[in-house]
Symmetry: C2
Subunit: 550 residues, 2 copies
């Protein structure tokens, strides 16, 4: 099969360039926002513009057929897809490409590659789809290693078994979203895990990063869908039991869920599935402001209604997406089920929205979620990752950060984070920018706010400007009691703040567990747990950023 | 406040003796079941019948006010409440009483006690309500320790803070069920965690053992209700953040949930709460056999209906409880909500029951769950732990074990476990006994079957007979792919099978984590994780039991 190659410098594949008309509109909007006449850019980089150092390490002949070291592969695996990654690619700045890219074809191959890497003291950075926005896949591991290999799981892409009675399937870690769903469809089953990166991310990556998916409530993370795991570590293999529930000690699966490649390579997982939805009920509801909408979300969650979608978007963000005139917050509410009519649940949720001051116009039909304000927002959501290639070369900073906080602290937290990031934008760029917020997920005890910030930087120093804003945002989140990430993961970029958030003894326990599984410390050094030699001190894009001030 | 003392030799407090009429009925039923004329027993033990060795260790004067060493305290803390514990108490056999019983009054006290114990090489066995049925609180730690202290958390019993907006409360680990609910009630909130041991177990104990609670589906274990933890370890304190959700690394809370006192002492927890239920809908449904009922449960769970109660009881177990004539399996189905009418959900579930061949007669009113067959079963459930004091001294073996298994394997698993345990009963006792099954909890991907076995042993060697049956049951569960425990925990009794179930590298990782938190290895040695000195080799009541044959 010939696949169209992924862009090494942006989102999607090489044929997925943002059409000129769309690019013009995106740029015009940015120019209007920042009150400038035009935004001139630089063209995307080409491979010929990079002179990568020769690989420092080689695999033995028996593994050579699994490994590539051409420039395209090394560039694709040099970064994830964060704002900082994009800036550095447009700056033709790739100081830490992997020496090699390995494509194991079986768990045995993974074990052999880890054995070689341990002996050769080569750092192994697992790579699923490479959609990390937090420096999770960047082979920036410090000087303690003889070299780096990016371990791409893409060839571990089989569905090994489907159990239609229990609704579960054993699937390999390198399966991409679309292939996974296509493989399940003939069985009438679906995982329904649709992160924004769905097309370009993998099952193993979702599990390793506690990916946040389709469902806005209840089963928000991939965590709850994991029935059992197959993991290859430098110390050996792990297979947990397929169990619907267990009380036998701390959950073995939970040790690896969120371990970001630092404890082992997730080669396969039994995942809990469901029937494709046949019943849907959706409605967009307007609120006079974000906090009135938040109150509705709280009431809906605490009533136990569990909407599949419950995305609250503030007025400005709705306007930017073409889903409102900027005067109202918008709540996109949807219920779905493979078995039960959902009209009653939607009606109950709307009663609670009314109590919180919500108003709405009915859009009829099952396709309501693709129509009107919801539809406009959805389209903007899907296109956003592509627009970075239009904006970054012009010095426009558009980035997001996300967290979670309990309801009692939310209003103050939201005000403080917004104020601090707005201030940081002015301090960093000399002009005001924008900070908007939505809820991507919500819980009975609090929401998961997702902030977007926009600023106009100077192309020559936009990375430092971004770092200053990102650090202020991270400081504010941690100082306010939030989590440094709700579903984007920790990676290298969030590491300094993760270490403040995480009790130090939990860090010590995780590093001790790592030493048992990865005695040489080759697995994704610098992420989540320290190798036996101690912290490696790399922080990816944030290396030059300020330390947290909390 | 003067509390009535707990029985050291049975369930409940010293005033809660099974009334003579009830005892006579229980014995008559047992005599009928085993075809014997009468069952003669021995009286319960008294303190005067025990000559415990003098405590081997003493605390420094600064801690003396926290410590007791009288015989009643040492006997209460010598065992949990398992069948084997009861047999050994009636045999006046207490080889491993704690040297001391400590009642810390604050997390600081806990830290000071751990500091002393570490220096003195005294094993610390945490004790909540002492309702363990798996040897979790038995201070049987082998010869490597200078002594043992049972750390009773009962004086850490405050509700420190209630957040009504987020519906959460910070509560101390030693709170017993009734006091916890009584403290929340004025706030209109409830934890609604009602294990069978509710009256005699604590919040910290529930979290340390992954207790299974009120809800038969969805949030079956205490795990999901934990918002944040406060833990005291020998290496220092841990406080995790209050977060509704997080994707920042492996969950810190999940490391301690189910750690059974081996990694730290849970001194307090922020727990997610809910409104008291105002809407209920319940119905008991009959099925021609257990497997038809199981099919209904599978359909209900996979449809996403989430009944609060979904207890399927096989025909013989229903008959024993006075909830049927032994010809039909019984499904006790109940929905509840603090906010939403549940009649529609019950109707949807009953449609699925009908499809699986279920039939029912309507019992009207909100109290339906206390009436009819459900009511009879519920009463039997509550009284069961008390009946042990009537049956054990007569050599009657009544015990339970519980597990979970995916639907695809359930029918074969159920048949195999039942056959192997039935055979073991005959081999151990020379006569047939009974093995029955119910589902206590259920999931979309499988049920949690809970087996009860009954046998008539010889008083002189009933402990060995029980061990033989229990080992056969555990072997069958593990060989069939189940978990050694769904919600009773591991303790010392399940340890040999837990080590087969758990991937060995996960064990190595947990023991490494323990070494970071408990460097001397004083915390509950022999449970869940090995101390730095290696396995301590104690297995509580199962010490003489056969090794697993898988």
């Amino acid at each position: 099969m010939t696949r169209i190659r992924r862009k090494f410098w942006g989102w999607g594949t090489e044929d997925q360039i943002v059409p000129e008309g769309e690019a013009t509109a995106v740029l015009a909007a940015a120019a209007r926002r920042f009150g400038v006449d035009d935004l001139s850019g630089v063209p995307p980089p080409t491979e010929a513009e990079f002179a990568l150092p020769a690989p420092r390490v080689r695999v033995p002949a028996s593994l050579a057929h699994l490994v590539r070291d051409d420039i395209h592969e090394r560039l694709v695996h040099a970064y994830g897809k964060s704002f900082a990654d994009s800036v550095r690619m447009f700056a033709r700045d790739v100081p830490h490409p992997p020496d090699l890219v390995a494509y194991p074809e079986s768990p045995d191959d993974v074990a052999r590659l880890l054995e070689w890497a341990g002996g050769a003291r080569v750092a192994v950075v697992p790579f699923g789809g490479g959609s990390s926005v937090v420096g999770g896949v960047e082979p920036d591991v410090g000087p303690a290693y003889a070299g780096t290999v990016s371990l791409d799981l893409a060839r571990l892409d089989r569905i090994r078994a489907v159990d239609t009675m229990s609704r579960a399937a054993l699937m390999e870690g390198g399966l991409f979203g679309p292939a996974l769903e296509a493989g399940l469809k003939p069985h009438g089953l679906t995982l329904r895990h649709f992160p924004q990166s769905f097309e370009f991310s993998t099952l193993g990556g979702w599990i390793a990063t506690r990916s946040g998916g389709h469902f806005a409530t209840r089963h928000t993370h991939i965590d709850d869908f994991v029935e059992a795991l197959e993991v290859v570590t430098p110390a050996g293999r792990i297979e947990t039991r397929r169990l619907p529930g267990s009380g036998a000690g701390p959950s073995p699966d939970r040790l690896f869920i969120g371990s970001e490649g630092a404890l082992g390579i997730i080669t396969a997982a039994w995942m809990r599935l469901q029937a494709a939805p046949r019943f849907r009920a959706a409605q967009a509801v307007r609120f006079r402001d974000f906090h009135a909408g938040a109150e509705a979300v709280r009431l809906i969650l605490q009533a136990g209604l569990d909407p599949a979608n419950c995305r609250l978007i503030d007025a400005e963000e709705a306007r930017t997406a073409g889903a409102g005139d900027g005067t109202n917050a918008l709540l996109v509410l949807a219920f779905e089920s493979g078995h039960l009519d959902q009209a009653g649940r939607l009606a109950q949720a709307l009663d609670l929205c009314r109590a919180a001051g919500g108003t709405w116009e009915t859009v009829a039909g099952a396709e309501a979620h693709r129509a009107g304000a919801q539809g406009a927002w959805r389209e903007a959501f899907i296109r956003a990752p592509y627009h970075r290639e239009v904006l970054v070369p012009r010095g426009v900073i558009v980035d997001t950060f996300e967290t979670a906080i309990t309801w009692d602290r939310f209003a103050e937290f939201h005000a403080d984070v917004t104020a601090r990031v707005s201030r940081a934008i002015v301090e960093a760029t000399g002009r005001p920018g924008g900070v908007t917020c939505r809820f991507t997920h919500a819980y009975p005890d609090g929401p998961a706010p997702y902030f977007t910030f926009q600023a106009l930087g100077d192309r020559a120093r936009v990375l430092d400007q971004w770092r200053q804003i990102k650090a202020a945002a991270s400081d504010a989140v941690i100082a306010g009691g939030g989590t440094i990430t709700h579903h984007h993961a920790v990676g290298r970029d969030h590491d300094p703040w993760y270490r403040v958030q995480r009790p130090s003894l939990v860090g010590a326990a995780l590093s001790a567990a790592k030493a048992a599984l990865d005695p040489v410390g080759i697995l994704n050094p610098g992420v989540i747990a320290d190798p036996p030699t101690g912290p490696v001190g790399t922080r990816g894009a944030m290396a030059a950023g300020p330390a947290p001030r909390v």
